[in-house]
């Protein structure tokens, strides 16, 4: 009697609205009723889906940190050369950031002082997986023998810096730019 209203799912609508606002104005800079209004629901409704504002931001963080890690690592070409693996990682990062610019901004351009244990655990597990890739490449003597954490911090930091430059309008995120950036950063870490 009622054609599927385009409400997909209120929980999802709330998550999407929150993402946009948190990415733009930060967690503390965004009021719950603003999120609710942007999601097209009443303020009280938000609390049927999330126990608190903090629970909401953690759910958001876990959803997208998980998506990012999954995008980076699912079906990772474990048998390829380090150079090829690096290309793959950088390319996947670029694709994720191109398709989900607000999500990436939310994840990486903000200082998250309110994360719960589950969120922190997810963060750390991602680090571990990447560390494995770095150490394997080092074992194959295809990557400089610096501390794995240092290499990861520099490479990931460089990528985030690139995205920040795009967000601020200094750069435009194109395949060519990504490719150039990849080449530079590979030079930084190759043997």
């Amino acid at each position: 009697m009622k054609f599927r209203e385009p409400v997909r799912d209120k929980r999802q609508a709330i998550l999407e609205a929150a993402l946009v606002l948190f990415a733009e104005r930060g967690f503390h800079g965004t009021a719950v009723p603003e999120v609710a209004a942007a999601a097209g629901v009443a303020a009280g409704t938000l609390y049927r889906y999330f126990a608190s504002k903090e629970a909401l931001v953690n759910a958001l963080y876990q959803q997208w940190k998980g998506a990012l890690l999954s995008a980076l690592l699912s079906d990772f070409p474990v048998d390829e050369s380090p150079r090829q693996q690096f290309h793959e990682l950088w390319h996947r990062l670029g694709r994720f950031a191109t398709r989900h610019p607000q999500e990436f901004a939310f994840l990486e351009l903000h200082h998250h002082a309110y994360l719960d244990e589950a969120s922190l655990k997810m963060e750390q597990s991602g680090m571990q997986l990447l560390k494995g890739f770095v150490e394997q490449a080092q074992a194959e003597q295809a990557m400089r023998p610096a501390r794995a954490e240092l290499i990861m911090a520099l490479v990931y930091g460089a990528f985030v810096g690139l995205l920040k430059g795009c967000a601020q309008g200094y750069l435009k995120l194109t395949p060519a730019l990504l490719s150039a950036a990849e080449q530079l950063m590979w030079e930084a870490i190759r043997v």
Copy 2:
């Protein structure tokens, strides 16, 4: 009846207190009375020195962004080789971040959605100066001919990533680490 240190300068005390709190909890996560209390002044007094909370954070941003730019660029060895100049820039960044970790965290680890024009202008003028260095090095064919903004975004992003890794405890900011990082990033951008 009053044993506080000679009240150096209340404005300065407020700026220092605000810096610590903003770096830790962010702008919106910090209450003005907290800042005042931490500075050892009354809440009303803060408003004699700053028109609003936003004016305070902008003053802080300009103070330290200016200090950072000044640290990077004053007496810059314009006649040295690009490699030497890069070393100098990286070393100065490292020294600044080592001496002023909270200031650096405030400047670079937060998303500043409240900056006024003066702050934005300062940000941009810093970029211009660094761009000049990159372009000169490229003119000397000592640095790859990529877009200057790309090189700056990657290098500065890598440095910020390094500091974030230190802030999160994955790394420890030592001269050796800085030196290793410098070497890697130079490889990224040298011809």
Copy 3:
């Protein structure tokens, strides 16, 4: 798919759940959805049986105030001596409070600022009936000639105080205790 007990009567289930919660946490301290959940029905269902939260608490009050009055007065031994009648009343009060401790607590240990006219009328009619007993005993010169309302207030207040002492853990409601209390209070009012 549904193993709840034969849903006796939803109205009754709601009343029972409300009683427990109102007795424990008070009317304003209890949320309607909590009552519904405790009764095993949906929140909306409650409103099929009671027009509002106030209607619910008044129905509850009337149900149990009525039950208490009925327990006190049905088949009252009108021909017995005043002493015997007092014994009967005290004993019936004790039995009611023993069998229905939460009901008694709800009725007498809370300040009911929301009673409607029907509830107040019930309260008053109970008073009238007891007043008759007192006045008859006084006419027979078996009870002191104080104001009937005074005697009732003291005796009933003493009983409530006894129950409050039990609820707080100072006393334990045993037949022996009730009997001792009865004896003391009879001494208070006998000629």
Copy 4:
């Protein structure tokens, strides 16, 4: 330059306003802004004096439970006869309830489910002191050898019942009524 405005003290004004409203409508039935408005202050001001609504009600409870205990026990005539001591206690209770009817109603006519440890301790220490009086009278064989807690529950309950009767309009709190009540209750407990 400004003659002492009749604000006595805002903390006191808040306590007084809260007392009236809590006595009438109960703790959960009273909204904080109502208390503030009745006290003639802004809602936020209340929180400068009390950390929370619960802290307010506990402060109120302790203030008046303390006043009641003090009224009962300060300069207690320890050398008088038990009968005389009972008269004194009853009289003091009556005077307190006459002078502070709302305070007494707040203390004794509500179910306080939110008391903190300090409040509970105060309650218990009052009980202990009164218990001492009962036990001494029993030792002198001037009071029936029932459990002290029972005697206290009945006598105090009777007094509360009397006040409840007055609050509901059945009785009027006069010296004569108090005196009559005292005589009845003494008969209950004397040997």
